[in-house]
Amino acid sequence: MTAPLLKVENLRIELTTRDGVAPVIDDLSFELGAGESISFVGESGCGKSMTALGIMGLLPEKIGRIAAGSILFEGEELSTASEKRMREIRGNDISMIFQEPMTSLNPVYTVGEQIAEVLRAHQNLSKSAAWSKATELLDAVRIPNAQRRVNDYPFQMSGGQRQRVMIAIALACEPKILIADEPTTALDVTVQAQIFDLLNDLKRQTGTAIIMITHDMGAVAEMAQRMIVMYAGRNAEQGPVENIIEHPRHPYSRGLISCVPHIMATLTEERHPLTEVAGIVPSLREFGKDQCLFASRCTMVSQKCLDKRPPEVAFADGQKSACWHAEAV
């Protein structure tokens, strides 16, 4: 493989809270190849979104900062890049869509104006060229009647349509990476299916790499080739999606998969209690301790887990698990 499109190494992001400084991302490394799609999975408060904001250079000002590690995008270091450079990269090379399509569009401008605005800012298109490109994009994200809908205001559209507009804006400058932060959590499942379908098609056509953040293992299975299971700011497990679902090598990934009542190919009469992952994600105060942070919820916990942070163990099939008992899982 040639050099990856995005290479994150030993990333550490610190957040200043009332209780002090906490590493919300703690020693995270991963690679993303061109046209590849990966997923970050985990419960809320595990640092999935923070990773995305870190890559985008959008960490909350004065509160969050990249404390160590590097983010290499096409060989360029982003963690130390100037704000001006990051502005060029955002929207142009890396763009992002968010969970809430209701609030991420400006209600006082038409969707056409908002798409054209991005095109003009990044690509110096003329007003009319930007406008016709906006119409094309709306058509590309399968909004029926794009010619007319381009003049609509966000409130005239349904949630699914608004998310499509967001995707159109994100893809306006043909970015190399699209980060989708829970893009369908607020949407109905039939609409989610449409959005997934659209993203997959666009990925095929444009070769955009996709980083999807989600809590839904089913969505990961549909959308991603590789996944990274995050827990308490750390990488719990990463590897090919199929392998992890078939044979998770971290108790947390195993818990995330089996705690959800999945619809199987054929339903039978019997129903077992769901596997529980007891307790909840630890508070930020616990982050960064030299121990396994999952230990308090883990059924396989031993003294070693409480004494020392487990290193990542690589397996032959491409899986990497940060667990002292990875072999036994």
Binding site: T275, E276, A278, G279, P282, S283, E286, S296
Partner: protein, 294 residues
């Protein structure tokens, strides 16, 4: 698989009353804390001042227009030679009393009207809100003057007049809070478990609607004091009782010759109202759960 869902590694939180949290929040607001101290002093003066400084504010004790600090009169004397210090101390009582009583009254009327309108909606709301609007568009000072002129300038009547013209703001706030809170699931939950309407209104919704009402009430005390001052200035007050506004009113002809006779009671009003506003402001922050989280 454990049935007990214990928050891991988190120390058991202490059961703290929301009021305790609000106080902590309030304490962090320095301006409000200073204002609270000032206000407490003013209230202490209003309560105990007349015993410590028993000079009758109506007695002509010295030559007129003796400036502050001269001849042993700290704040000087007015156009009839009455001790201004006595007027300020004795007047504090009336001013603050009227402020409190009028605010209390407008809160009582306003909360009742707003709660009924916001809870029952429909025609009840229509009727009550039209009445509220009627009172809102009345020229308040004029209306109060009419009441006082018709029914006599006694303290209860002045309080009543101020209360009647100033409850509309409370009613509107109460109504909008009720409209918001009645849709929250915990209200539906209470209804689903058989709570009666009176309980829903006054035990479930009202306590949660109180923060902005309390803030409004605090501000209302300030504006009632101002209102009373305005009426007194126009001479619409009980001539046998001294209040700050009345001191200003009776000395107003001499404002150019002896400005202190007007500015001193003016300052008293200003400081009190400012302190009340700042405390109200602090309450607003302290009682706002969104701000409390940080």
């Amino acid at each position: 698989m454990s049935d007990l869902n214990i928050v891991p590694t988190e120390p058991a939180p202490v059961a703290r009353h929301p009021a305790a949290e609000a106080w902590e929040m309030f304490r962090r607001n320095h301006a409000a804390m200073v204002a609270l101290v000032v206000l407490s002093l003013i209230i202490l003066v209003a309560i105990f001042g007349p015993y410590i400084y028993p000079t009758d504010p109506f007695d002509m004790v010295w030559a007129p227009f003796s400036p502050p600090g001269v001849d042993g009169f700290i704040l000087g004397t007015d156009y009839l030679g009455r001790d201004l210090m006595a007027a300020i101390i004795h007047g504090a009582r009336v001013s603050i009393l009227i402020g409190l009583a009028a605010a209390l009254m407008s809160v009582f009327i306003g909360v009742t009207v707003g709660a009924l309108a916001g809870f029952y909606r429909g025609w009840v709301e229509e009727v009550l809100m039209r009445i509220t609007e009627f009172f809102q568009v009345l020229p308040t000072l004029l209306f109060a003057m009419v009441i006082v002129a018709l029914f006599g300038a006694s303290l209860p009547m002045i309080t009543l007049a101020i209360g009647i013209v100033s409850w509309t703001a409370v009613a509107r706030i109460t109504r909008s809070e009720f409209l918001r809170i009645r849709e929250l699931e915990y209200v539906t939950a209470s209804r689903a478990s058989g709570a009666k309407n009176a309980k829903l209104m006054f035990r479930i919704i009202l306590p949660n609607a109180l923060p902005p009402i309390i803030v409004q009430a605090a501000l209302m005390v300030g504006s009632a004091i101002l209102f009373e001052a305005g009426l007194s200035f126009l001479g619409l007050t009980d001539p046998n009782v001294v209040s700050w506004g009345q001191v200003i009113g009776s000395n107003r002809q001499y404002i150019l010759d002896a400005s202190y006779t007007v500015t001193i009671p003016g300052m008293a009003i200003f400081v009190t109202v400012l302190a009340i506003s700042l405390v109200g402001d602090g309450l607003n922050d302290a009682l706002n759960p969104k701000l409390r989280q940080r």
